[in-house]
Point group: C2
Chain length 422, copies 2
């Protein structure tokens, strides 16, 4: 207990170092293709801490040929992935601490009340693109690691810190780290969860439906078949599939969620001319993937739905609706509610905050899908950022939350990896 208090106190006393580090990280606009500058600051910090470093540019054939690699970027030069390890003494459980260094673009500068890459500190908050998503969470990880090491504590299990690129574009950075062989007995990703714990994460992928009609002059529209009207039938089939998929999903964390895994139709485009019956409509949408199924299973359910529709009447038999999957895909993730790693994080939360952690099902995926789905690593998403500020203008993180998350994560590490008594 004494050691644990030393660690917690160290974080409390040294947090200004974390704030300065966060400011420096925000001041490096690590948008896609430009992650190198911010990554260099992380690397330098890990070197100071005396961690074993593995720095590499991703993009080898194993990665590019992997069925879960959905990335339109070919050049990773100068923007490496980093894994930094503090080996334990042995016979302990390892922990993986994963954060992404890439940030989404700042959007319209006029929507910001300050320079989005200033890292300005005001009213206990650090402002800037990436503060909440998720450089603030990364700093929580580094504060936890440094606190443990500065307190002279030796762990039994390994601490594996990862600073990856490409999360915002589909997760090729974490996938590359998994393929490089990194595994652990538990993983934390401090994405912005409002300090809630996300044991379930919805995956997703995009699909495109092309619906055919038959053109005719509007004045004799009864001689044609409107692809817009046919699309309404397709939408009904999609809604029916969504109902069936969600009815089959029972989990305590979904009890109060109206639609745990929605199928969203986000775009529609069809027809060329007001005076013609439209002969084609294209619908694009997002298929939610349940935490307990694979992306392929979700794809199969949509395929079966469209196949059934295409055999349901003469029109669709002759002009079948075309289905394709495109763009990035995000793997779902889940950890059993009884899993000891989840229990450990919950206990750490309670120890620090004096109340039970809130568990919630995440409506979106993180790199956790790669860690658990491909790497088989029990993974929890828990972090100090504000969910609703991610990708928004005037993004900020509360310094107090960043400290509390660092302390909860430090307690988790000490309990999970175990402190060596020697």
């Amino acid at each position: 207990m004494d050691k644990k208090h030393r660690v917690i106190d160290w974080i409390h006393e040294n947090y200004p170092k974390g704030v300065k580090l966060l400011q420096k990280l925000i001041q490096e606009p690590s948008k896609r293709g430009n992650e190198g500058g911010a990554q260099a600051i992380i690397i330098e910090k890990c070197r100071e801490l005396g961690l074993e470093l593995d720095i590499w540019e991703i993009g080898d054939d194993e990665l590019k040929n992997h069925p879960q690699f959905h990335c339109d970027r070919s050049d990773f030069k100068g923007n490496p992935n980093l894994v930094a390890i503090k080996k334990g003494e042995g016979f302990g459980k390892s922990i993986l601490l994963n954060g992404h260094i890439d940030v989404v673009p700042e959007g319209n500068q006029n929507d910001w009340e300050m320079d989005p890459f200033s890292g300005k500190v005001m009213n206990g908050k650090v402002f800037g693109r990436g503060s909440t998503d998720m450089k603030g969470g990364n700093v929580s990880l580094l504060l936890a690691i440094e606190a443990i090491m500065a307190s002279g504590i030796m762990l039994k299990g390994d601490m594996i810190f990862q600073s990856v690129i490409e999360e915002e574009s589909g997760g090729a950075g974490t996938l590359a780290a998994v393929l490089r062989g990194y595994r652990a007995d538990g993983a934390i990703i401090p994405e912005p969860t409002n300090m809630k714990i996300f044991p379930l994460q919805q995956g997703s992928l995009w699909f495109r439906l092309t619906v055919k009609g038959k053109s005719a002059h509007a004045g004799t529209r009864y001689e044609g078949v409107s692809a817009i009207e046919q699309s309404v039938i397709v939408m009904e089939a999609i809604r029916d599939l969504e109902n069936r998929r969600n009815a089959a999903l029972t989990h305590p964390l979904y009890e109060n969620i109206p639609i745990p895994i929605p199928i969203n139709l986000g775009k529609i485009h069809g027809g060329e001319w007001p005076s013609s019956v439209p002969d084609t409509v294209v619908l694009e949408g997002r298929l939610g993937v349940a935490p307990f199924e694979t992306v392929d299973e979700a794809k199969d359910s949509l395929k079966a739905c469209i196949e059934k529709l295409n055999s349901s009447c003469d029109w669709f038999r002759n002009k079948p609706v075309e289905l394709e999957f495109f763009g990035a895909r995000w793997l779902p993730g889940h950890i059993d509610l009884e899993h000891p790693f989840l229990r450990t994080v919950q206990a750490a939360y309670k120890e620090k905050m004096n109340q039970e952690a809130k568990l919630e099902a995440s409506p979106w995926a993180t790199d956790g899908g790669y860690l658990s789905g491909i790497g088989g690593i029990p993974t929890i998403v828990f972090g100090p950022g504000k969910t609703e500020l991610a990708h928004d203008a005037n993004e900020y993180i509360e310094i107090e939350k960043m400290i509390e998350a660092a302390q909860i994560i430090a307690i988790t590490i000490l309990d999970w990896c175990e402190v060596s008594e020697e």
Copy 2:
């Protein structure tokens, strides 16, 4: 009867002059903004015939300020309208013979088996852009006029020939002629009707509906409102309006038409991103206008439908569907089935063809809407061209039909305007 036979025989013997005239007209590609060349040929022909000519460039303030002027062209220089008159002796009924000189673009040259502006003659047909729509019909008019004059016949009523621009872009040429004061007791427009008589013509105008939703992340789509789903409700309201409008329409010529005045939804566009709930959908369509109503009455019925929808539930009360009318509009037209001018054309048809003329309701408008709706002139659309070839590649007209139409129109003129016995 002797005079009538002279006229019919003259056309039969002199039709090659008509074919040559048509070839010359086709060889002048009188696309929008370039009508002057073809118009010059018509003017020269009318001058030879000794008609009184009124040649003017349209676009004065009276035209531009007219509520039915919906034209995005500002420059009419060098591309005049023409009215050419043969005054009658007096105390007879006048006839207006109206044709447009403009043609639509030829489209993709590769779809044509010949130069679209060659006027090539093959197998009794003249090929080329505008042959059927409607330079062939114009030549029928000129053959009829020339035959009467060459036969030394003096009419009691006036013959008013019009060669107008802009029909294909909304009818500003004919509107200008109406505003210039030209009226008659009956009018024929030889648009391509497959030798059928169109006593009813559907009008139309374009509308745009903007349907609002509320954006949200696809993973929590239940927190948003899909503008695509709201659009389905709007479409149902439109379909209901179409049913009501058509149920109210009873006319013998509509007995076998499934939807006499359709409301067509021709374009749909909405949403920006597969993973977002779409917050706006724009629908564009064409509202068919009944031959017996005004464009304003049709607009009012759609406005009332959308207003009713907008008061039907909280969502639309707060986010009303926006309705606007845009683009060109086409006035409907009709002539009473008992009207003596229609009877005269029917009788002329029977006299020449030895069978009853087929009457049909036209699913689209012509410049006839301006003649009848603004000018108050009883108007019939009847011509030699093939409806289905209009605007298509490899457009042609059958020379025989052009001759027959000229003869039927000549008989109509003689019967309607009456031959002077002096």
